[in-house]
């Protein structure tokens, strides 16, 4: 098959020959034939004999105390084999990031005396059929006392806001700080020296991954006592280790069979279905399936975090940005999941690919009574980029300047000191913008066309 895209080899001509055989050519996916013939095996294509089904009774409140849970109605449904409550979970509290040393454990597998979001799991029902499990879950009765809910990141951090987390703050704590911080130069001095101050506020809503295949797994007890977990997880070993921690069993007693994911986009890296399906299999001695309904996938599974981002720039009339202050709030929802890490990524991504001498960044990972957010394609970075690049356009408009020129002027050059105190190397933003301008026929004056990432022009 011929080359699809011509490759400009001039940038790396000193480093290697441009004799590519794969890059720029079409290479067929190894799994395509299986997909078009229906032979690819997704986890739900397995039907082990004696399969049981798990369905969940979920919170109907955003934030409430649980006064009483009555499971007797569920146990009366024909076909219901047993119910699982938090008392059945060996280590009910967990945080998936424990594996990389992040704490505290802040989420229960099944709610104990409080629910922090609508849709939070309270009781799992295991039954012979999906219908019986669903009916059983519907028959569980929970008495609640509503508590004040916090549904906005900035309201959650305001004085006097109800504290919803056991740890005592509505934000994650980073080494004793309420946020991930970057301090570089002196941003106030930068503002004082600037010709203009240009501010912007940006916000986003939660985004659901909506994979066509819902999140789920089938757990099959093995003859040797181990559990084989057929899962569509995007993170097999992450799932294995977290499930082992929750169940209090050695990781060697579990085996994850995965790798075939019917759309994930980051939505299948939490560890939600496997621990309960394993528990159902352990308690009944039979295979167990726990798969989200479409409604659960849309309403209960983690989303991309909603964010609020405030940017304040000190700018010179010639387009140089001399100071940038960013305050960013990630809405983690009720529980941490991957958000403390996502917020760190957001901080690492600021102030964008621009060399700015004075930078001040505060990134908060905030808890609210909303559906927990977690990983999704470039989480922590994507929404920040939306804000940064929208703001660059805003600054360009305010200055009456071509937005590409504003970016070319401020882009990282090799050798620049970044706000994170790392020397920039291998930078290519200038060349990428020049090529993009060419491709869309955008006229760049010779001065901008002559720029290079290898050196910063005078001034």
């Amino acid at each position: 098959m011929g080359r699809l895209t011509p490759i400009d080899t001039t940038y790396f001509k000193d480093e290697r020959a441009g004799d590519f055989t794969v890059i720029g050519s079409a290479v067929q996916r190894s799994d395509a034939r299986g997909h078009v013939t229906g032979r690819t095996l997704f986890f739900e294509d397995l039907t082990p004999p004696g399969l049981t089904h798990v369905k969940i009774h979920r919170s109907t409140r955003h934030h409430a105390r649980i006064d009483r849970v009555d499971v007797s109605g569920a146990l009366e449904v024909p076909g219901v084999l047993r119910v699982i409550t938090h008392e059945d979970v060996p280590n009910n509290w967990y945080v998936v990031l424990r594996l990389i040393g992040v704490g505290p454990d802040d989420e229960p597998v099944l709610a104990e005396d409080r629910v922090l979001y609508r849709g939070e799991p309270i009781v799992a029902v295991v039954a012979e059929t999906e219908e019986a499990a669903r009916e059983g879950a519907a028959r569980v009765v929970v008495d609640y006392t509503d508590l004040p809910a916090v549904l906005d990141v900035e309201a959650a951090l305001a004085d006097g806001a109800p504290i919803i987390k056991q740890a005592g703050t509505n934000h994650f704590v980073y080494e004793g700080h309420p946020c991930r911080r970057i301090r570089f130069g002196d941003v106030e001095r930068g503002f004082a020296e600037a010709d203009r101050i240009i501010e912007g506020r940006y916000s986003s809503s939660p985004i659901e991954h909506a994979p066509v295949e819902p999140t789920g797994c089938i757990v099959v007890p093995q003859g040797d006592g181990r559990l084989r977990i057929h899962s569509n997880t995007q993170a097999a070993f992450f799932t294995l280790d977290n499930t082992a921690l929750i169940l209090g069993v050695p990781p060697t007693s579990l085996r994850v069979v995965g790798g075939t994911v019917g759309g994930g986009f980051g939505g299948k890296v939490d560890v939600i279905v496997e621990p309960l399906a394993c528990l159902a299999a352990m308690l009944t001695g039979r295979p167990a399936k726990y798969v989200y309904s479409r409604a659960e996938e849309m309403q209960v599974s983690s989303t991309r975090a909603a964010e609020h981002i405030h940017i304040k720039d000190g700018v010179m009339d010639d387009g140089r940005i001399v100071a940038r202050q960013v305050t960013l709030y990630v809405d983690a929802g009720a529980y941490s999941r991957h958000s403390p890490y996502g917020t760190t990524k957001a901080a690492a991504h600021m102030p964008g690919p621009y060399t700015i001498p004075n930078v001040h960044v505060d990134c908060y990972c905030v808890y609210t009574n909303r559906t927990p957010s977690s990983a999704m394609r470039g989480f922590g970075v994507t929404i920040g980029d939306f804000a940064l690049e929208s703001h660059m356009d805003h600054v360009a408009r305010e200055l009456g300047m071509d937005p590409l020129r504003l970016r070319l002027k401020n882009a990282y050059r090799d050798g620049d000191m970044k706000a994170h105190r790392k020397i920039a190397s291998g930078t290519a933003l200038v060349e990428v913008i020049q090529s993009a301008a060419d491709l869309v026929g955008h006229d760049l004056p010779p001065e901008y066309r002559a720029m290079s990432s290898a050196e910063r022009p005078e001034g």
């Binding site: 395509a32 078009v36 013939t37 039907t47």
Partner: protein, 192 residues
């Protein structure tokens, strides 16, 4: 209500099953006959991943009680290929990168097949209408539309050359060439 015996002509073969009134066609295909090509993305008629052909017309099998289609012909993605030889639609999906995660693919291919059976020379608009009930979250649809249009063309070419039965041979040859193409870059022979 009691269970009843239902007969289906499944990919050309007569098959029977005992079905409860609530058993869906999708569940009969997947759980009774082991034909897991049709997928369950929503179980509520919204995604099209369970699409099969019912007497030649595309249908979302998750919404159909199987007792209501007693005696009908049902075609699934498993019935398309002739052994290892892909049919034109399947081959076009492979060639045009119209499948990524693959979960929507069987349903998408059945909707496309229904279209081409009824309209050998579809317009782009015909194709987008034919697949408008099939959700794909991965590809952005564009490669799928290209694949279906190209499959229509290969089917017409096959028909024009009057090779009814030899369409399968042509596919076979094509698949062989493609196979060599795909393998070549790995052995470094396909430069340029």
């Amino acid at each position: 209500m009691p269970s009843t015996i239902v007969t289906l002509k499944l990919n050309g073969t007569e098959r029977e099953l005992i079905a409860r009134p609530s058993t869906t066609l999708l569940s009969a295909l997947r759980d009774t006959f082991g034909l897991t090509g049709a997928k369950r993305g929503c179980a509520q008629g919204g995604c099209g991943s369970c699409t099969v052909l019912l007497d030649g017309r595309p249908a979302v099998s998750c919404l159909i009680p199987v007792v209501t289609v007693d005696g009908c012909a049902v075609e699934t993605v498993e019935g398309l290929a002739d052994g290892d030889r892909l049919d034109d639609v399947q081959q076009a999906f492979v060639d045009h990168f119209a499948t990524q995660c693959g979960f929507c693919t069987p349903g998408m291919i059945m909707s496309a097949t229904a279209l081409l059976n009824r309209e050998p020379a579809p317009t782009r608009q015909d194709v987008t209408e034919a697949i408008c009930g099939n959700v794909c979250r991965c590809t952005g649809y564009e490669p799928i539309v290209t694949a279906v249009l190209s499959a229509a063309e290969s089917r017409r070419d096959g028909a024009a050359e009057g090779r009814h039965d030899s369409a399968a041979e042509r596919r076979h040859d094509g698949a062989g060439e493609r196979h060599r193409d795909a393998a070549a870059p790995l052995s470094g022979k396909a430069a340029g």
